[in-house]
């Protein structure tokens, strides 16, 4: 069975600074994918970044990057130059190659302060 753990219920950061959100996972699958989604108060779940487990290179999307440590089963999200619009719940999720459903963590509430 897959599990996803986010151990930081709440985080805060000053505008323009960098913050890292933690996620660990467990899976018996060899072919799996990891995602970070953002959920603002509007409820819409928005993809932030995606990582294929077979790729060694860490994914990056503009100000967002991941630190994927496969052996440690760790998948942290780094947000650089934080903006007020980054304030949201952030969820880490895992999906396997032969099992389409996503398994989710409990989320981290991020507040970006002016």
């Amino acid at each position: 069975a897959q599990t996803v753990t986010q151990s930081q219920p709440e985080m805060s950061v000053q505008e323009a600074e960098t913050v890292t959100l933690s996620c660990t996972y467990d899976t018996s699958e060899s072919n799996y994918y990891l995602f970070w989604y953002k959920q603002p108060p509007s409820r819409q779940m928005i993809l932030v970044i995606r990582q294929e487990a077979y790729k060694q290179q860490n994914a990056t999307e503009n100000r967002f990057s991941v630190n994927f440590q496969k052996a440690a089963k760790s998948f942290s999200l780094k947000i650089s130059d934080s903006q007020l619009g980054d304030t949201a719940m952030y969820f880490c999720a895992s999906g396997a190659g032969n099992n389409r459903k996503l398994i989710w963590g409990l989320g981290t509430s991020l507040a970006v302060n002016p």
Binding site: M45, K101, L102, G105
Partner: protein, 113 residues
Amino acid sequence: GAGVSQTPSNKVTEKGKYVELRCDPISGHTALYWYRQSLGQGPEFLIYFQGTGAADDSGLPNDRFFAVRPEGSVSTLKIQRTERGDSAVYLCASSDGGVDTQYFGPGTRLTVL
């Protein structure tokens, strides 16, 4: 193009009533997913459709929950004899098949009084 849409945005019902929640996926997406998100939790998988058929319904909590996707596009999640514990946000997502990125709708907030 248009994203995933869900109707209604909010639904308030009384215990014991029947409700239907609708999801309209991104055009051309073959896979459709339903998740339930309770307050303070991450989403919980309910059911996954590939085309018209339910490929995995292992997340449906009991036989009061049922979902259909008769033409391989729009899906309806049906809940019979609603209970207060069914109160949650119901999220729908679609993807272009495979373990592709799932794109989510805005959700339906169901409140059972």
